[in-house]
């Protein structure tokens, strides 16, 4: 099983390299955004889809990762390499996730949603309170460190193009996506994943089978928080700023809607959802402007279409876009024979 996921990851790496090489700078920047949404959505889909815990607070966990990254990248000559910074950001979010997870393990359904909602509302207030260190309302600027010479030279040698900072971030983000998704896929196929599903499907049966409910839930929450933290760190690098207004409740709800749109519990679905979050508003706004709408009307069109798409997906493909595609594919005989 693990080997198959590794192969998919290698194929993915090649695909990413080709796509990023062909994409113009703006699309590259969009792919960088898609990467951080995908990582956070991947973590959330595992938590909600596999373990059945509903979190409305993943935006706040992303904020933890983003602020950690920002704090570590305040000086222009940063002492730590970027990968280490991202790992520290992930670790910091894991700590917060563990604390929340322990509390969350005792709750379920609407109570858990309520507790994580409180997290989403409270966390953006922390930088306002500690405005001295955390920059308050206007946030902390993030300095993306210089691209290491060997990376720049290697990239130039391979592609014949200067590695721009935007493309560097996109590569970094997609490397993160591939690593995280491979790990998540393996985890979900392993005993841990089976335990999580058992807890989700029937708590009593799971307990009878000797599963420690609390431990399974905390572990799922921590894994999910780690993804949110990494996603948040990458977001801070792409946005070049960590500010409270970037991590409002809206972000948490958007992530959840992306996961539901893509297909709960499916990593492909998380990718699809992240793509929708990244590309849909810009495409719809552009379309609106081409149709002669005013700027304000075109801007208002984006949330409207996003809502309509959500309603349509829930009505027509209750298993999400990825699930819907699988079902369509399942109609073909060769596919059925494969089973």
């Amino acid at each position: 099983m693990g080997r198959r996921h590794l192969l998919v990851a290698v194929a993915g790496l090649i695909l990413v390299a080709v796509v990023l090489q062909l994409a113009d700078p703006f699309r590259t920047a969009q792919f960088a955004s898609m990467a951080y949404y995908a990582i956070a959505a991947g973590g959330l889909t595992v938590l909600t889809g596999l373990n059945g815990q509903l979190s409305l607070g993943h935006g706040a966990l992303m904020a933890v990762g983003a602020y950690t990254t920002a704090l570590l990248l305040q000086d222009s000559d940063a002492a730590l390499p970027l990968l280490v910074v991202l790992l520290v950001a992930t670790a910091a979010t894991v700590l917060v996730g563990a604390v929340v997870g322990v509390a969350a393990a005792r709750l379920h359904g609407p109570y858990l949603a309520g507790a994580t909602l409180a997290l989403a509302v409270a966390v953006p207030g922390i930088p306002l309170y500690f405005s001295g260190t955390l920059g308050g309302e206007q946030g902390l600027a993030v300095r993306v460190p210089e691209i290491p010479d060997w990376v720049a030279d290697a990239a130039y040698f391979v592609t014949g193009q200067e590695l721009t900072s935007v493309r560097y971030l996109a590569y970094l983000g997609w490397l993160g996506v591939l690593v995280v998704f491979t790990l998540l896929a393996n985890l979900s196929a392993s005993e841990v994943g089976r335990t999580w599903r058992a807890v989700r499907d029937n708590e009593v049966a799971a307990q009878l089978a000797g599963i420690d409910l609390g431990r399974a839930r905390v572990l799922a929450f921590v894994v999910s928080a780690a993804c949110a933290g990494l996603g948040g760190g990458l977001l801070a690098l792409s946005a070049r700023l960590a500010a409270p207004s970037g991590f409002t409740l809206t972000l948490s709800l958007l992530l959840l809607s992306a996961v539901v749109l893509g297909g709960l519990g499916s990593l492909t679905g998380a990718l699809v959802g992240a793509a929708l979050l990244t590309f849909l508003p810009q495409l719809v706004t552009g379309l609106g402007q081409d149709l002669g709408l005013t700027d304000v009307q075109a801007a208002q069109l984006a949330p409207l279409i996003y809502g309509v798409v959500t309603v349509l997906v829930v009505l027509l493909a209750p298993a999400g876009l990825a699930g819907g595609l699988r079902r369509v594919a399942g109609l073909f005989p060769w596919r059925r024979a494969n089973r």
């Binding site: 290698v10 194929a11 703006f26 306002l128 014949g160 700023l241 700027d295 984006a302 949330p303």
Partner: protein, 431 residues
């Protein structure tokens, strides 16, 4: 399967290699976004979300003026195309839409990007990409006090520190016995304003209350000001918080004198917010504000006979979108006027570097709607240098002082009416 992948990877790598040495490029100046007959600029504004009321009108004002200029032949024969992108006042979105503006739309310059937090997410990117970042719609000092670090960024409106200084100086001279309370937004806006005020009336301040934007309960802050016996409150806050502070004071029976900075004092917007927040209980919001003190740096809709307002009214009725001319639209129109001046100054063959150099060279002498001159030089990219103190009655402002002009730090405050008498040129387009 694995072998296939490996081979594929090797083929890909091989096909891309061998690019040779890095080519050198030395361009005299960038002309991205400029063609023979057009010039494309853009800006990020909150068109949706909580910050949209009021602020979303600024780009419509800018656009109306560009359409007016275009209808009259453009600048050096080029028509100005203004691309507006919505960021919902969220810095993450600001980064995304700025990427779109710079990398996809390939704008020549950013003009009037709005908001301290949203814009600080993109200011380094714009400077790295050498995109002129002109006339940021925010009074934070960071747009202009260090042009060495941000050579392409220029402020426009008076910064919050000089506004604080002018307000503090006026209070010291005219209300020397007042017990002053400060009502501050807890960010650069409040901090810079406080710094300016304290320079003159540090000993008169009896209480400082700070609110964080987004928290709509300001009762504790107002109660603290009341308990300290403040009889003159200086507010460095946004329009919503002007309305909120008025409503809470009404409830608490707190009746000090009010002096709001220009950011939060638009009587029309505050009046409509008052009736909305009080759910109709306050209907004559504009009258509630009678006697309010504030400052003014461009003529607004309360002065319909001002020659600039006559021009704006004409431009808006010919080229404006739906709705009436408001002070936010006047702000956009005035900003657009400054951009057209800068573009004229950059000559018939503008480049990105060229327009920056032109503003540093000629910006001090741009004659426009602002009552005080700009401070643009190679050493300062800060905008309008002063304002006059105004008392509002029945929604109409009356000047209490001549134009007061100053700069950061201990620069003195002087009277300078020279720019206030500037009239729009015939035809309404700067030469």
């Amino acid at each position: 399967m694995r072998r296939t992948a490996l081979v594929l990877a090797l083929v890909l790598i091989a096909s891309g290699c061998g690019a040779g040495g890095r080519p050198e490029d030395a361009k005299p100046g960038s002309t991205v976004g400029i063609t023979k007959d057009s010039i494309k600029i853009g800006g990020h504004f909150p068109l949706t979300g909580v910050a949209a009321p009021g602020y979303s009108e600024i780009p419509s004002g800018q656009k109306a003026y560009y359409d007016y200029v275009n209808a009259n032949g453009g600048v050096h024969g080029r028509k100005i195309e203004f691309v507006v992108r919505d960021d919902g006042y969220n810095p993450t979105n600001t980064s995304q839409v700025t990427n779109e503006l710079v990398l996809k739309d390939e704008i020549f310059a950013m003009v009037g990007g709005l908001g301290t937090a949203p814009h600080s997410a993109v200011v380094d990117f714009l400077n790295d990409e050498k995109v002129p970042d002109l006339f940021v719609s925010s009074g934070s000092l960071q747009w202009g006090d260090a042009p060495k670090d941000k050579p392409f960024t220029f402020g426009w409106q008076p910064d919050y520190e000089i506004e604080g200084k002018i307000i503090g100086d006026w209070v010291k001279k005219n209300r020397p016995d007042a017990k002053v309370g400060l009502f501050l937004q807890d960010d650069d806006f409040g901090r810079d304003g406080e710094k300016g005020v304290r320079r003159y009336i540090d000993d008169q301040i009896v209480e400082v209350a700070r609110y964080t934007s987004g928290n709509t309960d300001v009762a504790p802050q107002i109660a603290a000001l009341q308990a300290a016996g403040a009889d003159l409150v200086l507010g460095f806050n946004t329009p919503s918080y002007t309305a909120l502070s008025q409503l809470v004071s009404l409830r608490l029976g707190f009746k000090p004198g009010w002096f709001y900075s220009s950011v939060g004092s638009d009587p029309a917007l505050v009046g409509s917010l008052l009736s909305r927040f009080s759910e109709g209980a306050v209907t004559d919001g504009a009258n509630l504000l009678d006697g309010m003190l504030t400052t003014e740096y461009v003529p607004g809709v309360d002065a319909p006979d001002d020659p600039w307002m006559k021009l704006w009214q004409q431009v808006w009725s010919e080229h404006g979108a739906e709705g009436d001319l408001t002070n936010f639209r006047v702000y956009g129109l005035s900003q657009a006027y400054t951009f057209v001046q800068a573009l004229q100054a950059a000559g018939p063959n503008p480049t990105r570097e060229g327009i920056v150099e032109a503003i540093e060279r000629a910006g001090k002498d741009f004659a426009g709607p602002a009552v005080a001159p700009f401070r643009y030089t190679a050493d300062s990219h800060l905008g309008i240098s002063g304002m006059s103190v105004v008392e509002v009655t029945g929604g109409i402002g009356e000047s209490l002082t001549p134009v007061l002009v100053t700069d950061l730090g201990d620069a003195p405050i002087r009277e300078d009416d020279s720019a206030a008498s500037d009239k729009p040129p015939a035809g309404g387009i700067p030469k």
